[in-house]
């Protein structure tokens, strides 16, 4: 499993395009907002959590389509499923690699962008903490959609249609947590709920991904 993660990481490092494209998308998406709503500091501070979260969500979705597609087309996914590693293990490894190459860089860039959006400096820790819970959730839920749409005719359009409704609860609690922090309340209950969702998804999503991967190879 570790080897599979390392293989995926090495592939990304050598090709590089997908992960950096998602990151660039995230940065550009956030930078567009001050132009769209005007550069007033109060407005920007108010919308900063939502903008960052939605941009992160879309960036995760953008890179999600390629998660299994390449391996599916050149047949290596089939070999992976035939290997002694159970399909759930393959799923966990692929999701972990996806999170490492898109989620983690996103988490690291987010504080810089938050400063551009005039978020107070003392909230940056909370932002990174929230994203640390949110980005793995995005990878897990998105991977379910990516595995389900493998080989579909309009997978590019279909994937957001399946995954975005499932992202709504994540977005709600992450935004509520960040807003609570901004208005001086405790973000703890929201973060605990997010943590609970992450625990649940860590257990259930690999099962769904594995079932979908097996279905794609029947």
């Amino acid at each position: 499993m570790l080897r599979l993660i390392l293989r995926d990481l090495r592939l990304v490092l050598r090709q590089g395009s997908d992960a950096t494209a998602a990151l660039m998308f995230f940065v550009l998406c956030v930078v567009l907002f001050p132009f769209g709503v005007g550069p007033e500091p109060n407005v920007l501070t108010r919308i900063a959590p939502g903008v960052l979260l939605i941009a992160a969500l879309l960036a995760a979705l953008l890179s999600m389509e390629r998660l299994f597609q390449g391996d599916f087309e050149d047949g290596s996914l089939e070999l992976l499923l035939l290997s002694p590693l159970p399909a759930e293990g393959v799923a966990v490894a692929k999701v972990a690699a996806h999170w490492l190459v898109t989620g983690v860089p996103l988490m690291l860039v987010a504080p810089l962008l938050a400063l551009l959006l005039r978020m107070p400096v003392d909230q940056l820790g909370l932002l990174v903490g929230t994203l640390a819970l949110v980005t793995p959730l995005l990878s897990l839920i998105g991977a379910v959609g990516a595995a389900l749409t493998l080989g579909a005719r309009r997978s590019g359009v279909l994937l957001p249609l399946l995954v975005l409704p499932l992202y709504i609860p994540v977005l709600i609690f992450a935004a509520a947590g960040l807003d609570a922090g901004l208005s001086g309340l405790s973000p703890r209950p929201h973060l605990l709920l997010l943590g609970g969702m992450l625990c649940g998804a860590l257990v259930l999503a690999p099962l769904a991904i594995a079932a979908a991967l097996r279905a794609a190879h029947e």
């Binding site: 579909a152 309009r154 279909l158 399946l162 499932l166 709600i172 259930l204 079932a211 279905a215």
Partner: protein, 238 residues
Amino acid sequence: MHRFANPARFLKIANAVLPWVAGLSVVCFAAGLYLGLIASPPDYQQGDTVRIMYIHVPAAWMSMFTYSTMAVAAAAALVWKHPLAEVYAKAAAPLGAGFTALCLLTGSLWGAPMWGTWWVWDARLTSVLVLFFLYLGYMALVDAFDDPARGNKAGNILLLVGAVNVPIIKFSVEWWNTLHQPASVFRLGGPTIAASMLWPLLLLAVAFQSYFFAVVILRIRAGLAARRVQTLRLGQAG
């Protein structure tokens, strides 16, 4: 359950049941609509707008019922490869989406005079909206593959993933402080709704339910026929 896995046996029973549920639906719709829209008293606070409830609440119940049964059917299809379960899920999906749309629409029409707004982003409304998107996503996913068996399988997995949403809808009015009122019919300690309003509501619930069964039987019949046509065509081509 496996006794009815044979489509021929299922169709024999379904055809016998069909006129009865269709008739029951017509009778209950007529009686329920008369009682609900004309004979029942207006609410002491809400006046005549309360009559929206007689459509809104059964539609909401049906939207949940349809999704839950589809999820159970999806599990049966994945675990036992039950041949009718997939046909059922596929047949029920547009009906469920229709009930959910009706529920959202009437809720919005009811909210405008009562809450002073067409829509609020509270937990109940949002989770029902997610349910609506799940129905649409399922239908789009099932249709997206050249091989129908693969589409059904992907759809079944999506149905099971989306089943997380059902308890969230049910308990959203208790877990969060919502503008939407909590349950007043299915609750511990009996319904808090007046009998003169409960009766038309229950009649219409039966009407919606039997309408659902009648249409779902028709759609399953059509689904099975379509599958036969496809097999025959393949046989001819080969």
